[in-house]
């Protein structure tokens, strides 16, 4: 997976569709990121922070009992063990360090369920940056504990009351806010989305997942897995793990939520600064995604994924809410790892595809993007028929 063109295009996707007011900030960021990413001192600082603070490298775990059950060899990349409980920390550490390097003192972010918000607040606290997080009002109620976590970390959480009051509106609001304060504030976007250079930059910050996993698999004697499987909301964990295997023969599988399947059900469009595949109605109005997992509740997908889908280099599949809980239970019981509901989508696909699309005996790298602690209350109510 190479860099996009100068304008941030991956094939016909990507680009930079933002108000002129934000173009200078996007261009400044592009220059700053290129410069930093080519500077061994910055790269070392990024890796050191992730190691010393973020808990990297996360291990690869051979899932022996799941493998037996499925007739496969399944290895899990354990992003659930990263600080704050998912891969989100990789990205925010990179962006927060870049913020300081650019001489900015404040960071803003959008968040859906709160994972990216908590991660951003965490990196901001650690580095002494002010932090404001935009969160749909509906989500602030559903995820009140994450609001409190962000506040504990010293961040200000702003409930977004516009539109559908969920994630996509939080992105809109963060962008609106960024217009007013880009001089001293960096917008720390939470996935491989938004205007260039975000999709590329976030992928680069997440590619540590794939780089580590490729070398860790070799320690297990696996040169190239047959499949690399990751769930896809915006697509950052998938992009990060795919990056380690782009030049290999591994089949790359991105698993979307059926109710947020931008590749499966979307059409090309422009939102949040990028051209990509989007869920939209007949008039180009963006539709809301719906998924059991808040982190997959996004009506779009990162532009690079749209491109990989176009090329056929990665395949995108969708999994319905109905099988996700079962997959979460299976992994918990067999391996002692309660995955995030987002991650459980990837598990669910694998369980279903084993012995079929994924032939018996295949070697699979599953990106275990996050832990399920945040979801336990929800899963409990679902299993009790309370929701």
């Amino acid at each position: 997976m190479g860099p996009p063109d100068e304008g941030g295009h991956f094939g016909s996707f990507g680009g930079r569709f933002v108000p002129e007011a934000l173009m200078p900030a996007c261009l400044e960021l592009d220059v700053a990121f290129r410069d930093a990413w080519g500077d061994p001192t910055f790269v070392a600082q990024y890796h050191d922070t992730l190691r010393e603070f973020g808990g990297r490298p996360t291990p690869v775990t051979y899932l022996e009992r799941l493998s037996q059950r499925l007739g496969l060899k399944v290895y899990a990349k354990r992003e659930d063990l990263a600080h704050t409980g998912s891969h989100k920390i990789n990205n925010v550490v990179g962006q927060a360090l870049l913020t300081k390097r650019m001489g900015k003192t404040r960071i803003i972010a959008e968040t859906g369920a709160g994972q990216h918000g908590v991660a951003t607040a965490t990196a901001a606290a650690r580095l002494g940056l002010a932090c404001t997080v935009y969160m749909g009002e509906v989500d602030t109620v559903r995820q009140a504990l994450n609001v409190f976590r962000m506040e504990l970390l010293g961040a200000t959480v702003v409930p977004v009351t516009s539109g559908s009051r969920t994630l996509k509106d939080a992105v809109n609001e963060a962008l609106r806010e960024w217009v007013t304060c880009a001089a001293d504030t960096h917008y720390c976007i939470g996935s491989v989305m938004g205007p260039h250079p975000f999709p590329w930059m976030v992928r680069e910050f997440q590619s540590v997942i794939g780089a580590e996993a490729a070398s860790q698999l070799r320690d297990f004697g696996v040169t190239t897995p047959d499949f690399v499987v990751a769930c896809v909301g915006g697509g950052s964990n998938a992009a990060g793990v795919f990056a380690g295997f782009a030049d290999s023969s591994a089949q790359l599988i991105g698993v979307e939520a059926a109710g947020g399947s931008a590749v499966g059900l979307g059409t090309p469009g422009v939102l949040h600064g990028m051209r990509s595949l989007l869920l939209q109605d007949d008039h180009g109005q963006i539709e809301e995604a719906y998924s059991i997992s808040a982190g997959l509740d996004y009506p779009g997908i990162g532009p690079e994924h749209a491109y990989l889908a176009d090329l056929g280099r990665a395949r995108y599949v969708a999994v319905g809410d109905d099988v996700v809980i079962g997959a979460l239970q299976l992994l918990s019981e067999l391996e002692g790892i309660i995955p995030a509901l987002e991650t459980a989508h990837a598990v669910a696909w694998l369980v279903n595809a084993a012995g079929d699309e994924v032939p018996a005996g295949s070697t699979v790298l599953l990106n275990l993007s996050g832990r399920g602690d945040k979801d336990v209350a929800q899963v409990r109510s679902i299993l009790r028929g309370e929701s």
Binding site: P24, A25, R176, A182
Partner: protein
Amino acid sequence: MTTLDTRLRDLRARRKALVPYFVGGLTSDWTTYVAAAIHAGADVVEVGVPFSDPMMDGPVIQEGALRALGNEATLESICHELAVAAFEVPIVVMTYFNVLHHFGLERSAELLGASGVAGVIVPDLAIEEATPWREVATAADVATVLMVAPSSPIERVRRIGEQSQGFVYAAARMAVTGRASDVGDAARVVQSVRSVCDTPTYVGIGITTPEHASDAGAFSDGVIVGSALVQRILDGASAHDLEGSISSFRLALDTTAREA
């Protein structure tokens, strides 16, 4: 040169341009507000085609867009109503790029042109991505109005100035649409536009009162008044009520021009 270019250069010779903004489809009789505005002295009318995710708009115009979407306003329905109304002043449609993209760039340009729309403002379409649209729009004689922001460095102002058709939209401040207490950085922005091109330059974003209009009119070619008017419509003002407001903007601008 599009027709809009010609008309607005002519206009500049006569008076400061007053450009009220309305949300297409906000009410079933929204075109009567446009007519009233023209009657009160509007030179150009900006008509918003609603989009679900209006990232350059503040709460007032967001609310307007939401209501219009609730009324099932679409690019086609608004174009149709504009075509029927056939207003005498130039109409500039403001919408987000996805609306055009989804309908098809060429198809959109043709529809707009055929409906008598003179130009468009697409706030999320920066110069870097604008070329494919500009080509088809120009072919349909639809001008593409570009925006300059206080953050735009002079090289960008130059490129925007070169490419913007009809007028240059000078953003008065680093903010999305909404009401404000002054004209912000407008003077500096207009000055930088003037230093690179000769296109008429109108000030928008935060123009809320006739005083703002007269302030901005002193150094620019006109003003765009959006949220201040839309808020009144949201609050229930009739087309007749609006006419009064717009007249006072007209008066303020004309007074400024005479004093200058």
